[in-house]
Structure formats: C-alpha cells, structure tokens
Amino acid sequence: MNTSIIKEFAAIVGNDNVMASETDRHAYSYDAAVLDSVLPALVVRPENSEALGQTVKLCNEHGLPLTVRGAGTNLSGGTIPHPGGVVVLTNGLNRILEINAEDMYAVVEPGVVTAKFAAAVASHGLFYPPDPGSQAVSTLGGNVAENAGGLRGLKYGVTKDYVMGIDFWDVGGNLIKTGSRTVKCVSGYNLAGLMVASEGTLGVFDKIILKIIPPPKAARSMMAVFASMQAASETVAAIIAAKIVPATLEIMDNFTIRTVENFRHAGLPKDAAALLLIEVDGHPAQVADEAALVEQICKQHGASELKVARDAAERDAVWQARRDALPALAKLRPTCVLEDATVPRSKIPAMIKALDDISRKYQLTIGTFGHAGDGNLHPTILTDRRNEQEWQRVEKAIDEIFNRALELGGTLSGEHGIGLAKAKYMVLETNRGTLDYCRRMKSVLDPKGILNPGKIIG
C-alpha cells in the first residue's frame, strides 16, 4: 500500500495502531476456518468510536476492501481479509459502557470479550446466556455479526435474541442508530435485526445494546447412556413433548465418547452408542420436578445408565465430558474440520445415519457431537490437509453433508456463519431470487463493495 494512504490511516488511529509490516499483515491473514490465508495490505486498530467511523470512511474513499476482526475465531472464513484490503481490529474498542440492572440491558463496544462481559453481568446478579465455544476469547461484535449460538440455545436462544439495538457506521462514515434501550420498540425498520449475522458486509458496529436477564436460581445436570442413537433421539423428542425445555441438551456419538474417554479416563462407557448430557434450570421446585421427570423419561426410553450430578463437582464432571469433545477429537489428526449443519431436531437420527454413511463412503473419520435440543450437530472431520487425495474426499464429504442437511429441511449453518466457506451453498438453501435480492440491497448500501467482500452472498 502506498505510504500516503498509510499516513492518512495513521492520522486517524495513531502510528502505533497502523501495522504494515509483512509479519504483522501475515498474522491477520487467517482465522479458525480451514481455508487458505489471504494477506491484507494494512491492519489498523482504532481505539475510539470516532476513529472507527473515519477509518470506514477512508476505506470507502479509497475503495479499499474492509474486514472487521475481533478475536479471529471465525470457523467459516468471515474474518479472512480480501486481497489488498484493510483489516480493522476491534480489540482497541473493548469497553463495557453501561450495565443497567434496573432496565436489564447493557451497552458495549464491539471488542468486549464475551466471557468477560458475562462475568461482569454476573457480578451485577444478572445473566447473559449466549455461550459460544470460543467465549473465552470471542468478541461480542463478532458474536452479533455471526449470530453466535452455544450450548444454551434451546431454552435461552442465541445472540440475536439478546440484541436490542446497534449503532453502526455506514460506508460514508455516518453513524446509523437502530433499536433502543426498551423491551418494545417499533420505530422504523428493524435494522439491528438486519445487522445480526451480516458478517461485516452491511455496516461496521460501533456500539451494541444487549438484553440481560435474571439468572436461574437452581440447576441440575445429568448424563444418560443409550445403546442406540435412535433411543437417544427419541428421548430428546419425549423430553420436549413433556413440555420440558432443558437449558442444555447435548448429544455425543460413540466415536466421540471413545475419544473423550481415551483422553480423560473419566469412566465414560466406551461401548455406548450415544450419550445425552442434560441440564434443567429455573426455580428450585421446578428444577426438582423436571429433573425427576427427565430421569423417568430417560429410563422409559431405555437409558442403560443414568447419572445425576449431586453437587458442583459432579456437575462439572458431566460438562467436562462435553468440553473435552472438541479438544479430544482435535488431537487425533493434524486437521480438524468442524461443521455445524443443523436439522430440525426430529431429524437428528436421520442426520446421524447420513453422517455414518458419508464417513464410510469417503473413508473418513467423523466424530459427531452437538446440541441435540436444537438440532445443531457438529460433525467433526479428522484429517490431514497435506494429504491431497484425502483432502479431496473431505471436500466431497462436506458437500454431501450440506446436501443431506438441506434435504432433511435443515440449514447450512446453525452458528458458525456462512463466510467464504459456505457462500457457494447459499443458493441451495435459498434460491437465485433471494441471493439477487441480497446483492441488490448490498449494492445500494455499499456501492463500492468494500464491506467484507466475498462473504455470504459471494
């Protein structure tokens, strides 16, 4: 990039916050997706709202592609920059501006780390439920831009259910105000809703107003072992049919169970076909009732073993098994492709069967775990990207996973986003007209096409 443009950026964000060296640029050329890296031309780190707005405006004036990056944990390539583009870091914008316990909302800058925010909210005796797997490092701006989910989706919803409003910069450097600090708000278009899951393609977040709620007073966790995936899935359906909505309802397949057990030696049954990890929460009396009912349902559906956590340590042991799933799988092979195809929860047995077939057909190792309560599975393909032949089979398998999920009435992505990785499949889930509508909208809002080009709609 020519030095006069670099100087213009430096005038806005300060010399220390402009990175142009090869090493710095290389370090922002990738995210957590298994995709090729793309070297940006410049990396800038605004430290206040005004500098952020001016940065966006300057990029637009020079027609420079702009990719906003929080912690770079994206699993679909949404934070991989465009060739010759500018990466705009949000970790200099990491202030929690307000936590209002009376009206139960908070206002944050986009670079606040999810877990730190949740802890700050908890210190006010309140609760922010979305808990994506990367919450220890992920940012709220990224969570909103991807509509991140987590383990509590079934009962508490996902990030979009907590977004009350967003102030964002348009490409002209105008601050656009959307939503409000009130529970109800019907003033104008729901632009905040449009921003959720927009993956940085429509505007650059300046501030986010988030809903916070009272925490549950009690919780109880349990682990149920099943001899077939079918029995486990029927149990999930029966729990919901009994009008119980667990806070978390997770499933692990046999391969994942064996891998976790080999990793932790916590005494998981290696021969079990499926494991359900369940937590109910709420008022203590309700928790006691629901836990008893869930226990009964599990037994009725042939659970061969049922462990109810009696204290915090046992509860932790139950969830350790789930937390171990990805790390244990990831250690088996050099490359780990984590997908998040999602189906209506009644179709989980069919999807698990499809994954078995795909794994056999392409001779690949696939471990599956995920959020059974909301149909969001994480088929995890274990491979070595350096092995070209195997990698070609992986790519075919991924195609087929998406096809099968869509055939079952599902969606390409439950929580990881479309980004670069799944843009080519969008037409399969929607149709040509839908994509044209999105592209027309974007072309008006972002005439030069600088906002995270190539993502979602190609």
């Binding site: 090493t23 710095d24 990738y30 957590a32 490359t335």
Partner: protein, 430 residues
C-alpha cells in the same frame, strides 16, 4: 548466512508439529504478553502462523519473524491450555535454535554463554568480583526486600529495583556435601542453580538445612554448571549441550534417589528439556533420562515423598503464593508449595491470578523490560490486594522480578521462597 530457501527448509522440519495448530485462537485468553498488547504476532497462534509462513516461503522478512518470536516469555501457559495439544515450547525452542543458526548469536550473548557459562569457575570468579564492587554503582532502595537501583543513569539497568549479587554465594558457604541417608533412608542430589547460588544463597541454605533436619542425605558436587535454559532459549544449542554434558558428568559421580532443586526453572529444564532437546553425545542419553526421571521440586519432595502435612497457623504472617510458570504449566505442581506454606504455620491467602506469569521470562526481561514491567505490575497489584505480608514462590527468577515490582510500588511486602518459610518454622520449633 544461509539463504532464505535453506532457512525455509529447516522450518519445514517443524511442519508435523506446526500443522497441529488449528488456529482456534484460544491462546489469546491466557497469553500474558497478548493481554498487554492485543497483537496477534504476540500470541502463540500468530507466531506459529509466522513460522509456517517462513516454512512455506510465503514470507521474506526472517528478521521480522525472529523479532516477534523473541517477544515470548516461554511461560508455557498456552501449551498447558492448548485444545489441540500443540507442543508449543518444543516448536519455539527449536525455532530459536534455527534462527540463531541463521542470524548468529549476538556478541553479548556469545560472551556470556560461550565465554562464561560453559566455564563455571570463571563465572564464579567474575560474579565474585562483581559482588565486591557492585556497591560503587548501586544504592539500596528497600531494606526489607534488599533491592537496589543504579547510582548513575545506566541504559541496561533502567529504573529497575534489582537484587544485587550476594556477598557470599552458596558455593562458598557450602562448597560441597556428601552425606549418607539419615533417618529418612533417602539420599538426594541438590542442583543449586545460578540465581540461587549467586543472588539468593539463603534459599539454598534453607533447602539444605531442611533436608538435614529431615534425615535426608545430600550429594552436592563441588562443581555445577548452569542448567542451560538461558542458552537454549537464545537458540544456542551448542552451549546448552555442553552445559548438560558437564552437569551429567558431575551428577553421575555418586548414587542418590532424587535430584532436587529449589528453582522451578531448573527443575523443568532438567526434567523436560534435557531429555528432549539435548543434541550432544548420544551415549549420554540414558544418563540424562535417568537424571530427568529423578528430578523433583523441593516442595514436591517434602510433601509427596516425605509426607509433610499442613500445620495449625502459629503466626509467621499472612502469606500468598505465586505459581511459577515452570512448575505449574509443564509439571502441574501447584498444591505442594501451598501445602508447604501451610506446614510452616503461616496463615495462607490466595491472590487473584496466582497462576499467571510474573513477566520475568529470563532474557525477555532484559530485551523487553517495559513489557515485562507491565505484566509484573499486574502481578504486584494482585499481591498487594491479597492483603499478604509475604509473597512466597518457588522460583528465584520470579523472586527477582517480583522484588523489582513490589519495591517500585513501595508495597512493604517481603519476598521469600517457600523453603525459607519452612526452614524458619523448623528452627522455631526447637
């Protein structure tokens, strides 16, 4: 100097280890350097990506990568928390060796490592001279901590509040020992380590006193060399190999059950790095492995082997504990030092972030003092907020840096090794 392509070839040998990083970025949550700067090149994922970039010849600025690579404390927190189990410390140490092979060692480091460290007698003589004359250049700033600062403006010293060299190092106080197993029926070898020998001899004395009182026989060879970590972390493989070989020769001269150290860094170097990183005489392999297997931190020995138990508080003041990275991250030793503090009759209070790095990192502290100070300042703040009168830890390098930080903040908190507390309590019981 080899060409860039050759350098890439060398980094390609790390490919099997580099490829296991899935770029999840979870290291951002735990890296003490990243916590201060927020820069991707300062966190492990970024550094691994840079090494990968060099190996694949996507990068041309090898010097730039080397600079970033050295902005690391080698604290191992990332490795201890890495979801895909990447052997990060191995990669970083090997990468530093490759870089040093390519760029050469700085003149200062060459003089220190190859001129002095490999020559323990000279090292002792020079530091002995230093101890005699250091008063000319330094002045005391905190009597309780025993810290000093520069009398005149000195760029390398900056505004540090450092510990001066001890008037009499341990190897003068106790030149050698060879005592038989006593009541315990156990005999150990004691590896002193440079910082304890030359700056904190009282820590070594305390350890030897405790061992004597516990009826443990001690073999302290008349000659000991540095464990090798300063050389290895600067990529000086040749010096590391020499130091390991010398130590192996001296420590295999007698029989013993355990090799004890009261330096967290020496413990982890001998136990983890000697077997994995030694590239010298293959004939020494078996002896190195045996020594590594016998190596143990002093508090781990007292608690796990001798069964020292917590005792009721008798009033040595309120103590908080800082976990040295080299005990916690690689070896998982966190409980035993705390047990030893409680066994000393001290009231114990846990500080916030006890397990986070103090920011010292050996030569990191020399090259990146401002960053080191920022990280250490947060540690000092947590120590002060704990309400403790004494900060105890298990590593003399942490003691040095924390002394500097607490002294600069005029905290009025003493810095001790856990073995000093235990030795005091044994004396008081008489």
């Amino acid at each position: 100097m080899a060409d860039l392509h050759q350098l890439a070839q060398m980094f390609r040998e790390l490919d099997d280890q580099l490829v296991s990083c899935m770029r999840c970025g979870m290291c951002q949550a735990v890296c003490p350097v990243f916590a201060q700067t927020g820069r991707e090149t300062d966190v492990t994922r970024g550094k691994l990506a840079l090494l990968d970039g060099l190996a694949r010849e996507m990068l041309t600025d090898a010097a730039g990568v080397n600079d970033k690579l050295n902005r690391c404390l080698l604290c191992g927190t990332c490795q201890a928390n890495c979801p895909s189990g990447v052997r990060i410390m191995d990669i970083f140490l090997k990468a530093r060796a490759i870089m040093t092979g390519y760029f050469g060692l700085s003149r200062t480091k060459k003089a220190i490592f190859r001129g002095m460290l490999v020559n323990p007698r000279l090292f002792n003589a020079l530091t002995g001279l230093g101890a005699t004359f250091q008063g000319l250049f330094t002045k005391k700033v905190d009597d309780m901590l025993g810290s000093s600062c520069a009398r005149f403006t000195a760029p390398l010293v900056a505004d540090r509040h450092f510990k001066t060299l001890a008037a009499t190092p341990l190897h003068k106080l106790v030149p050698e020992l060879d005592t038989p197993a006593g009541a315990s029926g156990i005999r150990v070898a004691f590896f002193t380590g440079c910082v304890i020998d030359k700056i904190f001899p009282q820590v070594g004395q305390a350890a030897l006193e405790v061992l004597a009182r516990q009826g443990v026989g001690v073999f302290l060879p008349a000659q000991q060399a540095c464990c090798g970590i300063p050389a290895l972390s600067s990529g000086d493989q040749a010096t590391f190999d020499k130091l390991v070989a010398m130590n192996v020769q001296w420590f295999t001269a007698s029989e013993f059950d355990y090799l004890l150290t009261s330096c967290a860094t020496c413990t982890s170097t001998i136990k983890e790095l000697w077997p994995r990183m030694f590239k010298g005489d293959p004939a020494l392999g078996a002896a190195i492995k045996e020594l590594a297997g016998k190596t143990m931190d002093i508090s781990q020995f007292l608690v796990d082997v001798l069964g020292v138990k917590e005792a009721p508080a008798t009033g040595c003041g309120k103590v908080t504990y800082h976990d040295p990275c080299h005990l916690k991250n690689g070896l998982g030793i966190t409980a035993q030092p705390r047990t030893l503090i409680k066994a000393s009759g001290c009231a114990y209070t846990e500080m916030r972030e006890a397990g986070s790095c103090c920011g010292c990192g050996g030569s990191f502290n020399v090259a990146h003092y401002e960053l080191s100070k920022k990280i250490g300042s947060r540690k000092a703040q947590n120590i002060m907020e704990s309400g403790a009168d004494i900060l105890a830890t298990s590593c003399p390098a942490c003691m040095l840096h924390i002394t500097d930080m607490l002294s600069q903040k005029k905290a009025g908190i003493a810095v001790k090794h856990v073995i000093e507390l235990y030795a005091d309590s044994m004396k008081n019981q008489e």
